[in-house]
């Protein structure tokens, strides 16, 4: 990939991140996160992961335009590199987002979890999960989009939900909490799946 192409993609993602739509989304997420943090769940780690999954589909495609990924294919660029680059951008922007959120939390709470808790959780579970999902979705671009991928993804989601539910139950055993997590996961799963289907639809 040429430096100019990286620049073009970076600027596109940057613009996407700071678009009005994204800022409004971020503010909504901040408010939801704050309210949830305050009234429902005191575990900042769970808040972070749920908000990440809520935020992920937006970061996944610039301006949430479902047709954008196909557009890359007309350019002289390796599509796999684009996906990896987007993962890096997502990670970079999400770290920025985490920092904002952490500072925000410092002001709001007298007791809080250490930043290392957040980052360790993030680096060892959310990033690998995201990368794995992307790999599953994109590695066979244009090839047969078989059922196996859905099965693997479902297993991953069930596994992640179980882990988070376990944490959630440990800290705040409420049914509402579990339901909210399921809703967020479902939203992420549905968005991501639709997005991928659009890419693969005509390639089948």
């Amino acid at each position: 990939m040429e430096a100019q192409q990286i620049k073009a993609l970076f600027l596109l993602n940057l613009k996407s991140f700071f678009s009005l739509e994204q800022i409004v989304n971020t503010l909504l997420i901040f408010c939801t996160g704050f309210l949830w943090n305050y009234y429902v769940n005191e575990n900042i780690i769970i808040n972070m992961s749920v908000m990440y999954f809520l935020f992920f589909p937006k970061l996944c495609s610039p301006f949430n335009e479902t047709r954008v990924p196909r557009m890359y294919l007309i350019y002289p660029i390796n599509f796999k590199s684009v996906v990896i680059l987007k993962d890096l951008f997502n990670t970079f922007f999400f770290i920025l987002y985490l920092i904002f959120l952490y500072i925000f939390n410092l002001f709001l709470r007298s007791e809080h979890y250490g930043i290392w808790d957040v980052f360790i959780y993030f680096f060892f579970s959310v990033i690998p999960l995201t990368m794995l999902c992307n790999y599953i979705f994109y590695k066979n671009y244009g090839q047969t989009y078989n059922v196996l991928k859905y099965v693997v993804l479902s297993m991953l989601i069930i596994f992640s939900v179980s882990s988070i539910t376990f944490l959630s139950v440990k800290y705040l055993p409420t049914l509402i909490n579990i339901v909210i997590i399921f809703i967020f996961f479902y939203m992420w799963y549905k968005n991501h799946l639709n997005y991928s289907k659009l890419i693969f639809k005509e390639g089948e």
Binding site: L12, E21, R70, I74, P76, F79
Partner: protein, 261 residues
């Protein structure tokens, strides 16, 4: 190296489940040519361009562009191609200018040339005052012009244009044609799909008619009026439209009319 053809399609097949969208398309197109592909809706015109663009995979067949065989793992060849696709490929949340910057960088246009080219293109297509407007606020014609500008910003050797003149005003249409003619004179090959038969006949050097995934007619446009229509009377066709209707219309269906009108 002297190339036989700029575009070579051999036995191109595309199946969607049980539907045969393309049934062994073979086309050879030289440089310095504007080639028009016409056909009814769903005949397979856009499928050919989408396969070449890499948006969909072929089921079988061979594609050679500028002498190089292309496949899904090869993307470098796209540096020398430009595309205007049927479905707009624009990023609507960018401004026209930002999109042209994006496209020129993706095509590796030299950074020092980018500004000049963008300003020239916006000026030629009368989009200068809309350069900083979001694409989502553009009219259909403006979007088409912008897509065309992005397709030629890197001065490609082959252009694939799917309905390039649709929704475009006559003045811009003429400008687009002039640019394409100039590119042709400099050795480029232009591949156009269209429904505007008179325009294709007038503008293209060669034409092919595709119907139900097969090429049913191909000739140079100057030879259209020499094609025999009736072997007995030796009457010839008078336009591409006549040939088109003759070759793509089912005789029984042609007689069908609406019972209530």
């Amino acid at each position: 190296m002297i190339l036989d053809y700029m575009i070579e399609l051999t036995g191109l097949v595309k199946k969607y489940n049980k539907i045969h969208a393309l049934q062994g398309i073979t086309l050879n197109i030289n440089s310095h040519k504007i080639f028009g592909l016409v056909g009814p809706n769903g005949a397979g015109k856009s499928t050919i361009i989408n396969i070449i663009a890499g948006l969909i995979n072929k089921t079988a067949g061979q594609i050679k562009l500028i002498g190089l065989e292309i496949n899904s793992n090869n993307y470098v060849y796209k540096q020398r191609l430009g595309f205007v696709l049927e479905k707009y490929i624009l990023i609507e949340k960018l401004t026209g200018k930002e999109y042209l910057f994006f496209a020129s960088r993706m095509y590796n246009v030299e950074e020092t040339n980018i500004n000049n080219r963008i300003n020239e293109l916006l000026e030629v297509f009368e989009l200068s005052d809309k350069g900083n407007t979001l694409i989502e606020d553009y009219s259909l014609g403006m979007k088409k012009k912008l897509a065309f500008a992005a397709a030629i910003i890197h001065n490609p050797k082959i252009l694939f244009l799917d309905e390039p003149f649709e929704n475009v005003d006559p003045i811009s249409r003429k400008k687009m044609k002039d640019i394409l003619k100039r590119m042709k004179e400099k050795g480029a090959t232009v591949f156009i799909t269209s429904h505007a038969l008179a325009e294709v006949e007038d503008f293209c050097d060669e034409v092919a008619i595709i119907n139900k995934g097969k090429i049913v007619y191909q000739s140079e446009t100057k030879d259209i009026r020499n094609k025999i229509k009736n072997e007995v009377t030796k009457e010839t066709y008078q336009s591409l439209e006549e040939i088109f209707i003759d070759l793509t219309t089912d005789k029984d269906e042609n007689d069908k009319t609406l019972s209530w009108i």
